[in-house]
Point group: C2
Chain length 102, copies 2
């Protein structure tokens, strides 16, 4: 719950359904979770998985989101995700208009 996130104008909402949970998937997810945080324009990330997984990452602008999507290591992860791990996923890019906390 990082105060930085309060300034973030863009959220990427990634919801996914796994075929099965695997160690290889967990490792890759963890690697991408870390790698995202090193990217330009990155502002925050939150993740939880039960029946479905929801990861919301926060970015300064659309350009940063695009650059992260096209990152070489991330491209490999996305490809593996589609070919091996995910039964389905959705990505929504949304502009944060209001936020409040407790």
């Amino acid at each position: 719950m990082d105060p930085k996130k309060f300034q973030t104008p863009y959220a990427v909402i990634f919801t996914s359904k796994l075929k099965t949970k695997s160690k290889a998937y967990e490792e890759m997810a963890s690697k991408m979770f870390s790698l995202a945080q090193e990217q330009k324009g990155f502002l925050g990330i939150e993740s939880a998985r039960e029946d479905i997984g929801i990861t919301v990452s926060y970015w300064k602008d659309l350009e940063s989101i695009k650059t992260w999507k096209e990152n070489a290591a991330h491209q490999i992860a996305q490809e593996l995700g589609r070919n091996k791990w995910y039964a389905a996923y959705k990505v929504r890019i949304a502009k944060v208009e209001r936020q409040y906390d407790f």
Copy 2:
């Protein structure tokens, strides 16, 4: 993964940290999850909890989000949440600009 969600322009991203998990909380969360789905302008909801909980609900417009926030039963749940269950939470209201799926 309901195709309706693809038309939704607004996402409410609710992230929360519980003090402790309780049966009373689980019951209320489940009640609110169902009640949200009966509201005007409701388009979808997705939820997962591990260390933190993330619930993303999708709405037709800001008016629907406001009406749901002010719903009497929901107000009681919010009050209980602040007084008893949540260590912290954040609400972000975001306009979905792009979406794609697999």
